[in-house]
């Protein structure tokens, strides 16, 4: 087995991982930093983000407004201290990216342009055409090449963390090309492994988004927080789930049911706004959970449109005109043409909700530290407390930057000489290599593809846009059964070199654990909040008395996780009703009338 010693090890080459690598390198140039990723960094799924990154920018905007939008968007389940830190630092981070060369879209004056985004009061979303994530990721990747202390381990797969006496001492990884194991010694490790959207059937996520880091930290006793909150994006393409960005609606796109009616006005998001005059937080610019739920109701009432790949509604952009569409949404035009054979200039795009984002993740404090000493987590795999029950679009790209920097600096400051005996290292490594050894030798009858497919189906059925006790219980049983079958897995490819079947099998093992945590937390959250909506008679409303709390899922071998509850930091803005459209304006008017 190969060995390597480093100061700071970062697992994940997406936006969060790259930002923390740069931060660590800038904080202490003498440190040796390794960036390990199962794909080349620029393949990470940050690349697919289209819409933009939020930060208070305009004169008439304010930090307080961004704070309020985020907390209200989270249905009061965000950590308010964390949100406060975030909104105060987002702007600096976007400017930093500008100085690193990010091709932000500009106004005629040369200043950075901002666009509207769902759930935000004011235009504050920076964008680079409709390929914001792509440009952010490539800018970060290319900038990272400037730092001689950042060494990359491209196409290495993280197998396990090596934890000794509640402190991280390194990791075990596999070099994908050769299939050889690599033991890495490090006293600071950052997990930046992204979300877990692939546990669902219809999703906007890339094939690599399988919850690996979440599952590994979880198996080592770190809690997964708020896992029941899974965001559906209202506008994915039917079949593939490929994302059609929210920016389409920000630019004035409208949603129509089979009668050509803008149905959102029936769901507390109205009144209807005139064509071509989108209004923040109203109609099509309402938050994602509300829009996805509205689709569900329309579908129940038979008002959706039949499409070869399932029920859809229409996203109509035609009134924006060819020139505007090609300038502002070129990638959307390309995607629609390639994947549903529709030219948005002349026809509406068929869309349906698709799983998009995991709000929950590895529990960290405000400094990205987990309960294991030296182990940090950041980005979509982490739950630093920013998104609560529902993430606002364009907050997460900024999150990668703001907290990527924090994590990098913290990890650099923490790293120390690890002193663990060789015997202990040997023992930890042996244990860590267990699962892969078992898979390589496994001689069962089960195929990973079948299990994965059934997992995705049961999640969609039991843990989808609307949930109830019966469905969730059924899903939990199904998952327990799939986990048993997983033990009987047979990996057909017996080769060492580039064995993607083996990797898929490992990812499936991670996904099963993460899915189970989602269902269990969802089952025990007996209320409806943000992205978590229950249909059971008594649970259809938000219940602050019992559930203004984070769920914490703790791993238990051979049974569903134990769920604990953690108080929420509501110190700055007390819970209130979460309203959009006209209702929100009335609320705002009535509160501003009150004497302060």
């Amino acid at each position: 087995m190969k060995q390597l010693t480093t100061d700071v090890l970062i697992v994940g080459g997406g936006g969060a991982g790259l930002r923390s690598a740069i931060a660590a390198a800038e904080a202490q140039p003498s440190l040796s930093i390794h960036l390990l990723s199962k794909v080349y960094p620029m393949r990470s799924h940050t690349v697919a983000a289209e819409g933009g990154a939020a930060a208070v920018t305009l004169q008439h905007d304010s930090i307080a407004a961004h704070f309020e939008d985020t907390v209200a968007g989270s249905d009061w389940l965000a950590e308010q201290g964390v949100v406060d830190f975030f909104v105060k630092h987002a702007y600096q981070e976007l400017v930093q990216l500008e100085h690193w060369g990010c091709p932000w879209s500009r106004q005629a004056s040369g200043q950075v342009q901002v666009r509207r985004f769902g759930g935000m009061k004011t235009e504050r979303t920076w964008f680079a055409a409709d390929k914001t994530g792509f440009h952010i990721l490539h800018t970060l990747f290319q900038t990272s090449l400037k730092y001689p202390s950042i060494h990359r381990l491209d196409e290495y797969f993280l197998l396990d963390l090596l934890v000794h006496e509640q402190a991280i001492v390194g990791v075990l990884a596999i070099e994908i090309a050769s299939g050889e194991l690599l033991q890495i010694l490090a006293s600071s490790v950052i997990l930046a492994t992204g979300g877990a959207g692939r546990v669902f059937q219809f999703n906007t996520n890339g094939g690599i988004v399988t919850g690996d880091g979440m599952a590994l930290a979880y198996r080592h006793g770190v809690a997964l927080r708020d896992m029941e909150f899974v965001q559906y994006h209202p506008t994915g393409l039917p079949g593939s789930g490929i994302l059609i960005t929210e920016a389409c609606r920000g630019e004035g796109g409208i949603l129509l049911n089979k009668d050509g009616y803008r149905y959102l006005q029936d769901y507390g998001l109205g009144p209807e706004t005139p064509l071509g005059q989108p209004q923040n937080k109203t109609m099509e610019l309402g938050p994602r959970d509300k829009l996805s739920q509205a689709f569900w109701h329309e579908q129940q009432q038979g008002r959706t449109i039949q499409h070869p790949q399932g029920d859809v509604v229409h996203l109509d952009l035609r009134h924006l005109g060819q020139r505007y569409l090609l300038e502002r949404l070129p990638f959307i035009c390309e995607l629609a043409k390639a994947y549903v054979n529709i030219d948005p200039v002349t026809a509406p795009i068929p869309i349906r909700p698709a799983v998009h984002y995991t709000m929950g993740g590895i529990l960290t404090d405000a400094h990205c530290a987990t309960s294991i000493r030296g182990l940090f987590a950041v980005g979509e795999c982490a739950s630093v407390g920013l998104h609560g029950a529902n993430r606002l679009g364009s907050n997460s790209l900024s999150e990668l930057l703001v907290f990527g920097k924090v994590a990098g600096e913290q990890a650099a400051a923490h790293c120390s000489q690890t002193k663990v005996s060789d015997a202990v290292m040997q023992e930890l490594t042996d244990k860590a290599a267990g699962p892969i050894r078992q898979l390589r030798q496994g001689d069962g009858t089960e195929q990973w593809a079948d299990i994965r497919q059934q997992l995705a189906q049961t999640m969609e059925q039991g843990c989808g846009i609307y949930r109830d006790e019966q469905g969730l219980t059924a899903s939990l049983l199904a998952i327990a059964d799939l986990k048993r079958r997983y033990q009987q897995l047979k990996v057909g490819d017996s080769g060492l070199a580039f064995n993607t079947e083996l990797l898929h099998a490992l990812e499936l093992g991670f996904s099963l654990d993460v899915a189970e945590a989602m269902c269990q937390a969802a089952l025990l959250r007996k209320e409806s909040r943000g992205a978590h909506q229950r249909r059971d008679a008594n649970y259809t409303k938000r219940n602050d008395k019992n559930f203004l709390q984070h769920s914490l899922a703790y791993y238990q071998e051979d049974q569903a996780p134990r769920i604990d509850w953690q108080a929420v930091d509501c110190s700055m803005m007390p819970p209130a009703a979460r309203l959009y459209g006209d209702a929100a304006k009335q609320q705002a008017a009535s509160t501003s009338e009150k004497p302060v």
């Binding site: 794909v39 080349y40 620029m42 393949r43 690349v47 697919a48 208070v56 920018t57 305009l58 004169q59 008439h60 905007d61 304010s62 930090i63 105060k88 702007y91 600096q92 400017v95 930093q96 500008e98 100085h99 690193w100 060369g101 091709p103 500009r106 106004q107 005629a108 004056s109 040369g110 200043q111 055409a129 792509f134 490539h138 290319q142 090449l145 400037k146 491209d154 890339g206 094939g207 079949g239 593939s240 490929i242 070869p308 790949q309 399932g310 990638f331 390309e334 995607l335 390639a338 994947y339 054979n341 195929q447 593809a449 057909g492 490819d493 080769g495 070199a497 580039f498 993607t500 079947e501």
Partner: protein
């Protein structure tokens, strides 16, 4: 991945031949044929998934985003470099042949060794070089209660200035252009289309002052002058980057450099200086 609503058995089938290479058992690549169910929306990548899940789980290929933006899934389809996720079976009614990207060493099946490509990208210093002016008059000012107003502010750049380099910033590093380039096939030291396009992207950026640092690599024999303008790189590029344009615009820059150096009195110390910071 895509799950067609209709059952595979009711669907039309197409013959997909795939070049296999399993390093632990083959000495040279071999062809293997599969019958794959397909409909109007089945991409080459979907076909590979179907084979891996139903016929041969050892089939190996790279992919992730399945939406033509991550650059993982480049393969040769009937001898032309393509993104698997953006190439559709419907366009090959007679069947198709899929092989690993040409001009790269093959690791396994459709997976090639990209390290040379990454090395070339690194060589051209693809990042902004030079001290940005810290505070620009009239730059976008942050909201009223922005904490530190003396901090970094965005530099100004007009939409026209963005447009100058934007096309070359759209490269997804898929490597198709390297597979299309016979000069890279003959000489892997050639920096190649995407790397030169990226260098050009930064050279054209109004915020950059690093041209002098990038130019030596571009002017060298493995730089722009290795290109004979076959132009196929630009044809196959899935993102309209037009790397051939970048290289040949680079030749003009390189020539001007040469001319200027020729006439420059201090010919001997014309080597670029590290920018002082």
């Amino acid at each position: 991945m895509k799950q067609p609503e209709t059952k595979p058995s009711d669907m039309q089938h197409l013959s997909v031949a795939i070049q296999r290479y399993r390093p632990e058992q083959d000495d040279t690549p071999v062809w293997q044929s599969y019958q794959v169910p397909y409909d109007d929306s089945t991409s080459v990548l979907d076909a590979l998934h179907w084979i891996k899940e139903h016929q041969d789980s050892s089939l190996t290929y790279r992919w992730s985003c399945r939406m033509a933006i991550c650059g993982s899934c480049g393969v040769m389809v009937d001898g032309t470099p393509k993104l698997g996720c953006k190439t559709f079976l419907r366009d090959y009614p007679q069947g198709l042949k899929v092989a690993a990207l040409a001009n790269f060493p093959i690791e396994k099946d459709l997976v090639v060794d990209m390290s040379r490509f990454l090395q070339h990208l690194t060589t051209i210093k693809p990042y902004l070089i030079g001290e940005p002016s810290l505070v620009q008059a009239g730059s976008a000012s942050a909201g009223s209660d922005q904490p530190s107003s003396a901090a970094l502010q965005p530099q100004l750049q007009s939409p026209e200035q963005v447009k100058r380099y934007q096309q070359f910033a759209n490269c997804i590093n898929c490597g198709l252009c390297y597979s299309a380039c016979p000069q890279f096939g003959l000489n892997p030291e050639f920096l190649g289309p995407a790397a030169i396009a990226l260098a050009h992207r930064y050279n054209l950026d109004s915020r950059d002052q690093g041209k002098a640092e990038r130019q030596p690599a571009l002017n060298s024999k493995d730089g722009v002058w290795s290109c004979t303008f076959v132009g196929f790189c630009s044809t196959v590029c899935p993102k309209g980057v037009d790397p051939a344009a970048a290289i040949n615009q680079g030749k003009i820059v390189s020539t001007m450099d040469g001319v200027i150096q020729w006439f420059s009195p201090k010919q001997l110390d014309a080597t670029p200086q590290e920018p002082t910071s």
